[in-house]
Subunit: 346 residues, 4 copies
């Protein structure tokens, strides 16, 4: 039985780790960490776990935690893990970090986009970027996983096959993204009140969103060239879900069957990535609550562009689900253990 | 392995049976019945099951189905099962009916409220009303289960302890109910379009809703007296969830501790019924996607009334979840097998 | 031209006063008071007024304001106006208070339910309860208007005719209310975040909501007897709208036509109260954005109860619209001046 | 007093014309045309107009209608007006067509994208494309107005200044659009049911949406070159609102001030187009219920692209509001007569 501890268990991503691990037959949670609700019953904060989780919230003492568990999930604000991580902790427990602290290899890029000084750059090189479908083998051997951002995961999986196989001109790539509101976190801000979000849609972080360099870095690895792109996220009045609509020019003429074969080459054996049938567009409702990512593409012969689309649940494959998928890899379990729940609709 | 067939698999309740059985280790679905989508891949209609369910929809031939399965779920319009059920079918397979056809013991009451002639009243007596927490033992021995309605389930469980123990004046009972829109089904009607339901709330079926006699009958059994009450459902702009707010006068003075003890007497050992802490009101978000029912009550000394409240997911405990709970009882499995998934929030 | 000042212009109710007065041909706003946003352009806070309102927010100096305006609207927290109101202010400007400070005639009841010491009880007697359809004549002569609460307005107008004419047993009256989220205000609280409110419904303030004594007092006046009732509000995932479902036993047998005549007696000449056709239930979508209140009733011969229903926009007839209706009466204008906008649907 | 008739008054756009004209001091509606609800009281279908509109729905006899009115609004399916329009009708009444029948000058393009044979191509040349901010002078002299589509209006106004002034490479233009659900109309389709739309986002009509050639044609006029672009609409779970996010490469280096001056050159005097402050992104909530279009842009020096954004209410500026704006121009009234209502928030 894998013993797991969660720091940040009272955020949306943290509580989703709880939901998934409660259904995981080889793992148990022994530490529900929450700085804001220390000593309060976890099931009082997230009432969905009432009578299911019988534990009080603990603080965020990572050293104490590392003594008690095999794996630590940190669903914490940017900068937190970097400020407390140590060789000692890593020697005792695997760490899966849902923040951005170890995702970006070039620390100066991290510091520029996040506006934070990185407190433990010495671990960046060791950290493995936990996009399981791409880095499966490296993940298995890692101690420290940088769990990918929600937008980067969905963008990468939507674009990866065509980028990798050289079908698209990376200089033309534009990513227009849409996310449900849980991605904004559980902080009490006027901008996230029900009446402010409901019945509205807006772009935010235009040209400046922090997931931009993460997407660029991963797509640079995939395509073998330095990628600079536009990434524009939008806030959608729904709880969960991310939809990616990505545009790029084709470098060479290609028809549906050819590109479909490219997608299938990468995803036919992937449990969690579903390449939809011809002309079926991904919709977030079909993946809600699950670890699946639905992708598809459409060629526009009029403009010689291909439109690549992807849908997933930002809290599952975009956060907690992928974190557990990483845990499974780290501990030699089947990759989809505890993650086979079908999407919930409606 | 229990072989299951579903008639009406392309409705919201039917597809929820699919979701639950896919996670049930002792059951498998061998028949996805759908009159509207016969011969189409099930995963094309409910895209959430794409690459998860590899089967085409079949028709609604109950006799053929009974040959192949151990249990049949009918998530069909009122009157359908009554028109096709036979001794032969019942001799081959257990039947769990999610429609109202066998819920009401007095056939004339059924015919009056539903405006349908009952085509097989001979089975009414045999049918067991599948409210598991109440009729557990009878269910285990049954061939035909009348799976309770969504509103009746939530109302009954909210009111039952005080009704049974004689604390409330049943003549004063008023049930004000609120439901998400999935309860209205998947039929294409203007009244259920997004723009018609969104940003609005309304009462409907005032004094005439068909669940009224079902609630009255069950509460009559519980209280030992003939119950006539007001039941007013409301349509709420959300997908899932039912909330019950029930009002009744106390027959004898009682304080919180006394009534709490009554609720605990009936529910302390129940896995799916959670009596909340003092002053915590049930909210549908805390039970969404799960088979739990959250109940609580509040005494008003000013009016000598008690307000009884309950929240559950109308598609789970109010339909598919309770149906599977009944299946578990019918086949001697642990009652919560395949039903332990925690609520999904947010 | 009536000069108006608003204290609390950056709350939802305050900003709705702005919307209405901008379309009012006989009034202009000269003071947008906001303690939180003083000196910021009003159109930057409520971006809907960008390039429409060209003014900065001012503070909440009621004495300075009274010098400049004919009427002051206070859309402020409970206790604020009571703490600053003076004879001098009232001698200079009419005051329409959207808080509860002067609604309840018995100061001890106010202090008990609101948990605040009333700082200027000397003005309570003078204040006129601004339910225009009821107190029209007194309002015309007043200096200080206690603008009614949202729930009390909708409840009162739904129940008033039958209470006044003695058709219902006031001891049996139960009010089950449902409100959109704008009623909770614009404060940054976790409980009002999008993801917490969306896809859920709950009761709150059960037996303790502050609007209870206000409803009881007004219905006591109407019925001529002391009314004690149950009032249970629920939070609905929508921006605007209040729906009332009220239950009471009939004191004497009555049929539809008789009760319809009673409603018509009180409302046939009322511009803003619409008695719907037989069997048509009020829905909040049909009144959104307008000052209308839709009411109707249904008799249940089985239980001898009548169900009275009402729907309105909590920010308009429940706050800003009724406030302007009061202003019209105070200044001798047609009561519906600036308030004739039809409901916005969808 | 302008006498107006509406064909298609029981659709969402038609009912919005009603809402606007009811507040228009120089126009009155004398014909509420509805094929589906002929002879039924209009206020029974759209209950928001109960006791406000006292008229029954009439049929769609355009000839009879032309005798009685000064202006006809057709909010009808594609192909309807083209099949019935005649010189005689145009000689009697102005016609403002909210369908696409006369928007596209090249009839073969219309027939290809709409899959309909055009029944009266002889009127296409005469028809004036009713984008008021662009074609104001031609509109004043017209008999037949092709009221622009919702997406084309918002896209055009967002992109126009930079396209016209040659700042952007039109070959790189990509338009990613998001719309509320009222744009899908009031037809009873499963895909538009509440539970299907709620909690989801999807792209639709990818590379094939019918508004594409309309957008291309208008931007070709603006830029002086043939434009071919990608236009991808998305369905958002909200009632109203369109948001445009458009991407293009800058042809020449430019800074914020320079582009801002270009936007101001075109829009400073426009009542309905609001160029937002630096770094403020358009949001649909700030324009809901109004005829305003909020636009802004952001330069990305990293990619040398400019992101142009626009938000408006699809039923107002995208349909009924612009139609009334056209009516005002046709009849020599102030262009914003009856259209000055501020946006409704929340």
């Amino acid at each position: 039985m894998i013993k797991a501890g969660i720091i940040g268990a009272t955020g949306y991503a943290g509580s989703e780790i709880v939901r998934i691990l409660l259904g995981h037959k080889d793992a148990e949670i022994v530490w529900y960490g929450s700085k804001s609700y220390t000593d309060q019953p976890y099931g009082d904060i997230f009432q969905n776990y009432f009578q299911i989780v019988d534990a009080d919230c603990k603080g965020d003492d990572l050293n104490a935690l590392a003594e008690q568990v095999d794996v630590i999930f940190t669903a914490t604000p940017q900068g937190y893990l970097a400020s407390v991580l140590s060789e000692e902790i890593l020697s005792k427990a695997k760490v899966i970090d849902l923040s951005a602290d170890y995702r970006i290899k070039d620390v100066s890029v991290y510091e520029e986009w996040y506006g934070i000084e990185h407190k433990s750059p010495q671990f960046i090189k060791e950290a493995v970027y936990g996009l399981c479908e791409k880095n499966r083998e490296e993940i298995k051997k890692a101690r420290l996983i940088a769990n990918p951002g929600c937008y980067p995961t969905c963008t990468f999986l939507s674009v990866y096959p065509l980028a990798k196989e050289g079908y698209i001109d990376m200089n033309t790539l534009i990513v227009d993204a849409k996310s449900g509101t849980s991605g904004a976190g559980r902080g009490a801000k006027v901008a996230n009140l029900y009446c402010e979000v409901n019945e509205s849609i807006k772009a935010y972080g235009v040209t400046t969103h922090r997931h931009t360099p993460e997407i660029e870095e991963q797509l640079s690895y995939a395509s073998g060239e330095k990628v600079t792109l536009n990434f524009t996220p939008h806030l959608v009045p729904m709880n969960r879900g991310i939809l990616i609509t990505a545009y790029a020019s084709l470098k060479k003429p290609a028809d549906y069957e050819e590109l479909k074969a490219v997608y299938d080459k990468y995803y036919q054996k992937e449990y969690f990535v579903r390449v939809l049938k011809k002309d079926v567009c991904p919709e977030t409702r079909w993946v809600e609550g699950s670890n699946f990512v639905d992708v598809n593409f459409k060629i526009d012969p009029r403009t010689n562009r291909v439109i690549m689309m992807g849908a997933m649940d930002n809290l599952v494959k975009g956060a907690a689900g992928q974190a557990v998928q990483n845990m499974n890899l780290l501990f030699g379990l089947p990759e989809n253990e505890g993650l086979k729940m079908p999407p919930v609709f409606p």
